[in-house]
C-alpha cells in the first residue's frame, strides 16, 4: 500500500441514499466486514415508512449508521465521522448531523439542477460554501460503476444499481477491510443470476481499486480489533436474537412452540424468522388479526405448547382483552412488543419506549403481567429465554418489551453454548392433586386446577390428553383451589391478591442487581430499562472521563421490580432516569419507592445520543454536588 495509514480507535460511518439504492445492504456488509475483522460495533438502520418513497426526495432517504471501534462500544454513535451520500437528498438530510471535519463522500452523478431544486438546494452544495466544514470527496460513483460493469452488457439502469457495491468497495479500502466475505455473499445471493453477481463483484472490486490507485484519499485508516473474550461470535440483530431465543426456549423446555402473529412493523421479522424453523418444532400461524394471533397462542398453551405472539404497540392494544384471559386462566404465554413511535399508527419505522405503561396496565381489572426488556440486540436472546422461563414456571403471560432500535440494530454477539443454557421445567400435572370424599363418604382423588405451588404460587398445568385431569377454565373469576366459577366476594378479593402476589414472587427468583459505579464515589445514579442501556452506558463513560463519578443500574425486569432496587435507589442523592418516552419508568419508580426519580426524556423516534445525554447527566451531577456542598 502506497498510502499512509492512520490508526483510529473508533469510527462512525453513515451510508445514505435513496430507498432503492441498497444502503441497508451496504451497511450490513460493511458491518459484517468490521465484525469479522474483530471490531466491536453497533448499528442503526433508519428507513422511511414507505416501501419505495419517491426517488430523490428527503423523505425517501434511507440510511445505515455503523459505529466500529477497537474497544467495546455501546451505541451506534451520535455523529458520523464519515458520510457516504448517494444523491443530493441524502446529503441534505444528513449534513446537519455531521461534526466539523467529517469526511463526506458524495456520488456526484445525481447533482443535476432539477434534483437539487427538488430537495431545496438553491445552488450546488458541492460548489459553494455549504460543505466548507467538511472534507468532501465528490466522485462520480455511478459513472465509474457503469464503466466498471460494462462488460456484462447490462442496461445503464441495471448497471448503475451496483453503485452501492462500488461505494462499499471504496469504503472497505479506506478502512483496510477485506471484501472476500462480501464476494462470497454476493455469489450466494445472486447464485441464479450470474450476470448480476458478476457485475456486483466487479463494482465492489472497482471501488476498492479506486481507493487504492487514485489519489483521492490522502490516507487510509486502520481501526484495530477490540478486546474480546475467546469464543465464537456473530453479528446479530435484535429480531433475530429474539427469534433464536424463542426457538431455544422451546428446546430448553422440551415444548413445541406455536407462534401466532399478524405482520406489523417492526415486529414482522420475528414471524419471518420463526417460520423458517419448523425443524425445531416451531409452528407459525399468520392470523387474520392480532386478536386471533394471541387467541391461537393461548389455545396452544392450553394444549401444552409454548404459546407466543409478537407485535408492536397497536397490536398490543388489540390484544389487551385476550391478555386478560391469559392472566385469569394462568397459562404460559410470551407476548413480544417491539415498540415503535406512537400514539396510534405514529411513526411505524422509528423506535420508542412508550408502551411500558401499556404493558403494565393496558388491561381491564387488576391484571398483573411480568414485564421484561432486553438491553441490546444480542441480549434479546437471553431476554426471550427469560420471558419463557417466567411464563412457564409461573403460568403467566409475560410481556417482552423490545423496540425498533433493538429489532433492527445489530452488534457482535458471543454465541452461547447450548449445553450451558439452563433447562426450563414445564412440570405438567399428571395426577390428581386433591383428596376429598364423595356423597357416599368414599375417598376420591380429584384434580384442582387452581391449587398452587406453595413457593411460586403457580397453578398446575394439566394438558388435554391427560386422563383424569379433565377440567374447564375461563375468564370468569375462579374459586380458590378448585377453580370453578365463583361469585363470592371474599374469594374474588383473595384471588385478585393471589394473582398479584404470584407475579411479585418472581422477584425472589432474580439475581441481585449490578450497580456499575467504578469509583464507588457516585452521588448520582442513572437508571434505565431496555434499549437505552447502550447510550446510558456511553454517556456515563463520558461523564466519568470528564472526572465525575456516576453510577448506572439497568433493569431487565420492570415487573416485578427487583427486591434490592429500593435500597439501591435510596443509597444515592439523586436518581435520574433517561427514557425514550415522557417518563414512564420514572413514574413506576416514584410510585413504588417515593424516590424523586428525575426523568430525562426524548421522543424523537431515535435512540439517545451519548453526547447530549452525557451533557444532561453532567448537569445532574454538578447540581447534586452543589446541593451537597
Amino acid at each position: 500500500m502506497s498510502h499512509p495509514v492512520t490508526e483510529l480507535d473508533r469510527v462512525v460511518i453513515r451510508f445514505a441514499g435513496d430507498s432503492g439504492d441498497g444502503m441497508q445492504l451496504t451497511g450490513d456488509r460493511f458491518t459484517q466486514e468490521a465484525a469479522v475483522f474483530g471490531n466491536d460495533l453497533s448499528t442503526l438502520p433508519n428507513f422511511p415508512a414507505e416501501i419505495r418513497a419517491p426517488q430523490g426526495t428527503i423523505p425517501g432517504v434511507s440510511s445505515f449508521q455503523l459505529h466500529f471501534a477497537s474497544y467495546d462500544i455501546l451505541t451506534p454513535g451520535d455523529r458520523p465521522d464519515v458520510l457516504v451520500a448517494m444523491n443530493p437528498a441524502a446529503l441534505k438530510a444528513n449534513t446537519g448531523d455531521l461534526p466539523k471535519g467529517a469526511t463526506v463522500i458524495v456520488d456526484t452523478h445525481d447533482f443535476t439542477a432539477r434534483n437539487l431544486t427538488k430537495v431545496g438546494y438553491a445552488a450546488n452544495p458541492l460548489e459553494d460554501e455549504t460543505l466548507a466544514d467538511f472534507a468532501v470527496h465528490a466522485v462520480d460513483l455511478t459513472g465509474m460503476t457503469v464503466e466498471a460493469v460494462k462488460e456484462f452488457g447490462l442496461s445503464r439502469k441495471d448497471a448503475a444499481r451496483s453503485k452501492n457495491m462500488f461505494a462499499l468497495g471504496l469504503v472497505s479500502w479506506l478502512y483496510g477491510r477485506d471484501v472476500a466475505g462480501t464476494e462470497t455473499y454476493l455469489a450466494h445471493k445472486f447464485a441464479t443470476k450470474p450476470t448480476i453477481r458478476d457485475a456486483n463483484v466487479a463494482a465492489l472490486r472497482a471501488g476498492w481499486n479506486f481507493g487504492e490507485t487514485t489519489e483521492t484519499f490522502a490516507v487510509s485508516y486502520v481501526v484495530k480489533p477490540a478486546p474480546a473474550a475467546p469464543g465464537r461470535y456473530r453479528n446479530i440483530t435484535g429480531n433475530t436474537a429474539l427469534s433464536y431465543g424463542l426457538v431455544a426456549a422451546g428446546r430448553l423446555s422440551g415444548l413445541p412452540v406455536l407462534m401466532g402473529a399478524y405482520p406489523i412493523t417492526p415486529a414482522s421479522d420475528i414471524l419471518h424468522e420463526l417460520s423458517k424453523h419448523k425443524r425445531f418444532g416451531v409452528t407459525t400461524f399468520q392470523a387474520e388479526d392480532e386478536i386471533a394471533a394471541i387467541g391461537a397462542a393461548v389455545g396452544a398453551s392450553f394444549a401444552g405448547t409454548l404459546g407466543v405472539t409478537a407485535t408492536s404497540g397497536p397490536g398490543v392494544a388489540l390484544k389487551s382483552e385476550a391478555m386478560g384471559l391469559a392472566v385469569m386462566t394462568e397459562l404460559p404465554l410470551v407476548v413480544v412488543d417491539v415498540q415503535r413511535g406512537g400514539p396510534s399508527t405514529g411513526l411505524p419505522t422509528k423506535t420508542e419506549q412508550s408502551d411500558l405503561l401499556q404493558a403494565m396496565y393496558g388491561r381491564n381489572g387488576e391484571a398483573p403481567m411480568p414485564v421484561i426488556a432486553p438491553q441490546s440486540p444480542g441480549d434479546c436472546f437471553a431476554a426471550a429465554v427469560e420471558a419463557a422461563r417466567i411464563a412457564i414456571t409461573y403460568r403467566t403471560p409475560v410481556m417482552l418489551l423490545s423496540d425498533g432500535y433493538l429489532a433492527n440494530g445489530s452488534e457482535p454477539w458471543a454465541i452461547p453454548s447450548v449445553a450451558d443454557l439452563p433447562a426450563i421445567e414445564p412440570g405438567f400435572a399428571t395426577a390428581p392433586n386433591h383428596s376429598t370424599t364423595n356423597a357416599k363418604g368414599e375417598p376420591v382423588e380429584e384434580f384442582w386446577p387452581y391449587l398452587r405451588d406453595e413457593e411460586t404460587l403457580a397453578r398446575p398445568w394439566a394438558i388435554p390428553g391427560t386422563a383424569g385431569l379433565e377440567h374447564r377454565i375461563g375468564g370468569l373469576e375462579k374459586g380458590e383451589g378448585h377453580g370453578n366459577i365463583s361469585y363470592d366476594p371474599a374469594n374474588h378479593d383473595r384471588m385478585v391478591r393471589i394473582r398479584a402476589e404470584k407475579v411479585q414472587r418472581i422477584a425472589d427468583s432474580l439475581p441481585p442487581l449490578e450497580v456499575d459505579d467504578p469509583s464507588g464515589q457516585a452521588d448520582v445514579l442513572v437508571i434505565g430499562w431496555g434499549s437505552t442501556y447502550g447510550p446510558i452506558g456511553a454517556a456515563c463513560r463520558r461523564v466519568r472521563a470528564a472526572g465525575h463519578p456516576i453510577a448506572q443500574v439497568h433493569l431487565r425486569h420492570v415487573n416485578p421490580l427487583p427486591n434490592d432496587l429500593g435500597a439501591i435507589l435510596r443509597r444515592y442523592d439523586r436518581v435520574v432516569c433517561p427514557e425514550m418516552n415522557l417518563g414512564q419508568l420514572s413514574r413506576l419508580l416514584r410510585a413504588e419507592y417515593l424516590v424523586d426519580v428525575r426523568p430525562i426524556t426524548t421522543v424523537r423516534g431515535l435512540p439517545f445520543g451519548a453526547e447530549a445525554l452525557a451533557h444532561d447527566l453532567l448537569t445532574h451531577v454538578t447540581r447534586t454536588a452543589e446541593a451537597l456542598a
Binding site: R279, F285, A300, T305, L325, P464, G465, R472
Partner: protein, 320 residues
C-alpha cells in the same frame, strides 16, 4: 376429528356430565342440545381427555362447564381462534367450539369466516336464538329486520345474515343446520359434523324462552313437517322457480347456496340438514405436514448449529 385411534373405554352420557350445576333458564333450548351432545359424545369412541370444548361468551357459551372433558370458556367471539391454536398444536385432540349468534356472527364474525376458509379441524356449534341472551335481550345479526328489543325500541333496521349463505361464501367445507328440539336430527347432523375433517359449522336453531320466545315456533310441533325442508342428498329443491338436486358433496357451492336462500323467503320451508360436506385439505394437517416434511428432509433442528449460523468469527484467545 382425531386421526389417532385410541382404544377408548366404553363411555356413557353420564361420563360426559361434569359436576357443575347447569344454569340456564327453565325451558331454554340449550338444555336439549346439551343432552344430545352428552348422549352423542360416547359414539365418537374417543377418550374424554382427548376432547376439548372451547366457547366464547353468551348463555350458550357456558356449555363447556357442563361437560367432563377439557374445556375453555374464553372471551367474546374468539373461540375459533383459540380452537385454531389447540387444533394446530395437537393432532390428537378432538376440538369443538360452542358459540352463539352474537358471539359467532357479531363480534366473532371475522374469526368464524377465517376458520372456515382455512378449514381447521373443529366442529362449531352455533346456537342461533336470534337474540343476545346473556346481556338480556338486544337484537343480534340474525334477528329479523324490524325487531323491537331493548336497544331498538322502534324496531331494528339491520338486514340479518343468513349464516349458511355467509359460510358458503366464506369457502366452508361443511355447513349444516338443525334445531334444538329435534333430538334425532340434531344427533345425526352432529355425527356427520364430527366425522368431517376440517371446520364443520352447525347452525342450531335454539329457542330462548326469555327474550325471544317462539322464534322457531313454526318449526316445532304439528306443522313442523310443512315448515321444515329436511335436506338429503338427491332431494329436489325448487328455489325461485328453478329446481335443484341437492348434493352436499358437490365442489361448487352454488346449488347449496341456492338452497340456503330459501330461508329469506317467508313462503318457503326452512331447509335443515347438511348443505355442504366436501373434502379439502385442512389447515392444521398441512401445518403439521410442513413440520414433518422439514424434519424428514433435514432431521430435527440443531440449536447450536442455528446459533452458529451466518457469518461468524472466533476469538481464540482473550484479546485485550
Amino acid at each position: 376429528m382425531t386421526t389417532v385411534d385410541l382404544p377408548a373405554p366404553a363411555l356413557t352420557a353420564k361420563d360426559f356430565s361434569s359436576d357443575q350445576e347447569v344454569r340456564w333458564c327453565p325451558g331454554c333450548g340449550d338444555y336439549a342440545v346439551l343432552k344430545a351432545v352428552q348422549s352423542f359424545l360416547p359414539d365418537l369412541g374417543l377418550r374424554r381427555e382427548n376432547i376439548v370444548f372451547v366457547s366464547g361468551i353468551g348463555c350458550s357459551s357456558r356449555f363447556p362447564y357442563y361437560l367432563d372433558t377439557y374445556g375453555m370458556h374464553s372471551i367474546h367471539g374468539r373461540a375459533p381462534s383459540i380452537a385454531t391454536g389447540i387444533a394446530t398444536a395437537r393432532e390428537d385432540l378432538n376440538v369443538w367450539v360452542v358459540t352463539g349468534d352474537g358471539d359467532a356472527l357479531s363480534i366473532g364474525g371475522n374469526h368464524l369466516i377465517h376458520a372456515l376458509r382455512r378449514n381447521v379441524n373443529m366442529t362449531i356449534l352455533l346456537f342461533n336464538n336470534r337474540i343476545y341472551g346473556l346481556t338480556k335481550g338486544q337484537y343480534s345479526p340474525t334477528s329479523e329486520t324490524g325487531k323491537v328489543t331493548k336497544s331498538t325500541p322502534v324496531g331494528s333496521i339491520d338486514h340479518p345474515f343468513n349464516p349458511v349463505s355467509l359460510a358458503l361464501g366464506a369457502e366452508a367445507s361443511f355447513v349444516a343446520r338443525t334445531i334444538d328440539c329435534d333430538r334425532k336430527h340434531l344427533t345425526a347432523v352432529l355425527a356427520a359434523a364430527a366425522a368431517h375433517r376440517g371446520t364443520s359449522l352447525v347452525e342450531i336453531y335454539q329457542n330462548c324462552p326469555i327474550f325471544n320466545d317462539g322464534a322457531f315456533e313454526g318449526l316445532k310441533g304439528p306443522d313442523a313437517a310443512d315448515q321444515l325442508l329436511r335436506l338429503e342428498p338427491g332431494l329436489e329443491v325448487t328455489v325461485d322457480g328453478q329446481t335443484w338436486t341437492h348434493d352436499p358433496t358437490e365442489a361448487n357451492p352454488t346449488r347449496q347456496f341456492a338452497i340456503s336462500r330459501l330461508d329469506g323467503d317467508p313462503d318457503s320451508p326452512v331447509p335443515v340438514g347438511i348443505f355442504r360436506q366436501v373434502d379439502r385439505p385442512t389447515y392444521d394437517d398441512q401445518a403439521r405436514a410442513q413440520v414433518a416434511d422439514a424434519l424428514a428432509a433435514a432431521g430435527p433442528g440443531d440449536l447450536q448449529a442455528l446459533l452458529d449460523s451466518g457469518d461468524t468469527w472466533s476469538v481464540a484467545e482473550e484479546r485485550a
